[in-house]
């Protein structure tokens, strides 16, 4: 139920990392979600798709990878150089 909170935090992490790398074009973001993380992946995907379609992102895509456990992390960013 808190997928939007999580999606907002994913976007905050992505924005901070882009700023740190002095890049402005995010292409994709990879997120790892454990089966005990309390997250519904389809719901998180919907929230991320919605947020990543808007500024400052420009239609970046989110890819969610499942794993066992309570892991919930931003794994990687794909950026356009």
């Amino acid at each position: 139920m808190h997928e939007m909170s999580v999606a907002l935090e994913v976007c905050r992490i992505a924005e901070a990392r882009l700023a740190h790398e002095k890049l402005d074009r995010l292409v994709g973001v990879g997120v790892v979600v454990g089966d005990q993380a309390g997250i519904e992946p389809a719901n998180l995907q919907f929230c991320l798709d919605t947020l990543l379609a808007q500024p400052p992102f420009r239609r970046a895509t989110a890819r969610i990878e499942r794993c066992v456990g309570d892991t919930l992390r931003v794994d990687y960013l794909e950026v356009d150089e």
């Binding site: 905050r12 997120v31 993380a37 309390g38 309570d70 919930l72 992390r73 150089e81």
Partner: protein, 229 residues
């Protein structure tokens, strides 16, 4: 377009957990015990808090932060049982409190003159389990009007909790609720769970709950004194 992959490997909860750590430092610096009350909606968090404030309000300073999706009804109810400021956090739709909200709420609380901080979380057995608020312990409430297998359906919450308060036990004669089965389900998920059987209406079992609070508050205060030398 040249695409480069940047390895991030950052926990989504990292920022919240950083703020939670600062909340924990702030309360520990003043020897305050911080508890996070969690349950499904309607389990009786606010009523338990009202009775707790009535019973302990004269012997310890209790500060309360309440979280609700909408309205500050719970904060208004609790405020009638204490002269201390009750901080209401209206989440505006979010299904849990987060550490940032608690950190902000603490700005208005005089921690130097507080013994016990109770955070009444949003009624929800899923999301609040994932968010560290800087508390020392989560206390889960479980009413006898719910299903006995709730701990098995929501294991993370019962695993994260240090104490469980079964509420509304005065209703047992009117229900087919199997108390032994419910307690067994809690023990199956978390054998270490300290369990209290209570009725805020009749007062049954409240002494054990209040005794737990007195003991834990004294422990937090002693730990603080030892740190100060």
């Amino acid at each position: 377009m040249t695409v480069r992959v940047i390895d991030v490997r950052e926990s989504v909860m990292a920022r919240n957990n950083e703020i939670a750590a600062t909340v924990r430092q702030r309360v520990e610096a003043e020897g305050v015990l911080a508890l996070n009350l969690v349950s499904s909606p309607g389990a009786g968090k606010t009523t338990l808090l009202e009775r707790t404030l009535d019973a302990l309000g004269d012997e310890m300073a209790i500060a309360v932060v309440t979280g609700d999706v909408q309205t500050q009804n719970d904060a208004d109810r609790i405020a009638r049982h204490t002269s201390a400021l009750v901080q209401a956090v209206v989440t505006g739709g979010a299904c849990h409190l987060d550490a940032r909200q608690v950190d902000r709420a603490l700005e208005a609380i005089d921690l130097a003159h507080t013994d016990l901080l109770v955070i009444e979380n949003v009624g929800n057995l899923v999301c609040p389990a994932a968010w560290d608020l800087g508390e020392h312990a989560k206390i889960v409430l479980f009413s006898v009007t719910e299903g006995e297998d709730k701990p098995l359906k929501y294991p993370r919450m019962f695993r994260e909790a240090r104490g469980a308060v079964m509420t509304k036990i005065d209703l047992l004669p009117h229900l087919s609720f199997d108390l032994a089965r419910a307690v067994g389900a809690m023990r199956e998920v978390n054998p270490e769970l300290e369990i209290f059987l209570t009725s805020a209406t009749t007062g049954d079992g409240m002494d054990a709950w209040l005794g737990y609070l007195r003991r834990e508050v004294a422990r937090a205060s002693t730990a603080h004194g030892a740190l100060r030398g």
